[in-house]
Symmetry: C2
Subunit: 302 residues, 2 copies
Amino acid sequence: MSSFSFEAWLATQSQRAESALLQYLDPDTAVPQHLHTAMRYAVLGGGKRIRPLLVFAASELGSIDRVDASLVNRAACAIEMIHTYSLVHDDLPCMDDDDLRRGRPTVHKAFDEATALLVGDALQTRAFEILSNVIDADSLIRLAQLEMIQSLAHASGSKGMAGGQAIDLQNVGKKMDLPALEEMHAMKTGALLLCAVQLGGIAAQLPPASMASLYTYARALGLAFQVVDDILDATADSATLGKTAGKDAAQDKPTYVTLKGLDYANELAKELKGRALDSLNEFGPQADALRHLAHLVVDRKK
Amino acid sequence: MSSFSFEAWLATQSQRAESALLQYLDPDTAVPQHLHTAMRYAVLGGGKRIRPLLVFAASELGSIDRVDASLVNRAACAIEMIHTYSLVHDDLPCMDDDDLRRGRPTVHKAFDEATALLVGDALQTRAFEILSNVIDADSLIRLAQLEMIQSLAHASGSKGMAGGQAIDLQNVGKKMDLPALEEMHAMKTGALLLCAVQLGGIAAQLPPASMASLYTYARALGLAFQVVDDILDATADSATLGKTAGKDAAQDKPTYVTLKGLDYANELAKELKGRALDSLNEFGPQADALRHLAHLVVDRKK
């Protein structure tokens, strides 16, 4: 790779994500205070910020003077809020019933179930609110905002993330073959990761051919992300993960590891990383952050 | 009033709301089928469609050739989906724990809790999705769409509907004075009713002064709506209401009736109706539907 320092990029852009989230979340003094406090607890509790980082990295593929930085920040926050809302709801007793998330008590444990339900609801709403703010009289910016809202809603709704979660819940304890498993993951986690690069690409006003390459990248990355999740659930401990490990086997959930074994899963993750990197061949050094993010996702230990 | 036939208007516009909802909900053959079936069960189970009717009625205040009918239909569906999502989540065991809604089992009773949670989540998403579809190259339409999304998100989020619900839950069994009660209702139900006329007004491109009158109307109507709800909960039976009656007293919830008595509540409802009607004085017969809706809301028996 080039002389690009990913470590410096990662530090800067991670800080950018945290600052933007702080800016676009309501203060915990807003009424009702306990709800806003819980919303901040949910969002500001660490997290790898993979989706915001993908938004930022994809937005770098456009020429700098055409990209509205405020719009990119809004997109990054919106997708992280959608992701967080899904975690808060997935952790509820009627779903995955989890006590630990990002190394801390889940929202319904730190507060209560009703508050966790409302935190998720209100975080979803907030995501669309910050994307819909009329920030510029430029009609191209407005069009980009509508396209972003459309992309985010499609990726997270009943035919995307929420639909994938519904399929997942219906299949606990059932046999699921590999194509069905991949379809479920493509909806449950893949759709939102693809949306992340799409949001960045919309902000960068990328041409359709570049968008198509980005989608290939994101699809490979999304699947790799899930395969690595399955591997870590089977091999890492809860303290390292910051969430309950070994849940898949305990809940008899079909995973790449339980279906095909650890060796196959490790091999697949490597192959998918290669596919993601190949899809970026048409881009020059502008895509270095995306390349490093592929390594980060696949080689992560938690 | 004028020769305007409200009965004919109501029949036509109610049918319009049902048709639009049928159009903008995904078919129950969409994957995953059980989630989409449950979403349709939640939305298509009757309901008074007060919010869509308010959108339609407010949109009639503009000149007909400036109003995009498809945009109005989308707005009407979006707000009804937001309202329905809130009912589905409010009925969950960790919230109001209700078994009956619109005369049928609630979603978590007819399906299960996890499905009900996802139905609410996905209905909220769908609302923003149908409003963000790029339906016209006209930049005024795009601006109207962004303003609608903004209005709906603000009204339903942590400083509106969801925030009001959080305050409500925190005050079960506690003393609440009248100003606090009114603030809670203004957020929990008032904000979305105000949003309904705002969506219609945005579609009609109404000038600020007309919008302000509409807000006065909606604020009075919203409060009247809640006062009548409290009266009906205390006086009607479950069969008539289509939901569990007498819950407020059973749960020791502060209401206009429990705080101030039935006579006061009846008087207040009448006074609020008068205030709503007065606010429409500047409008001619174009506001007849809004006038009749005020009567409908206050004089309803369920």
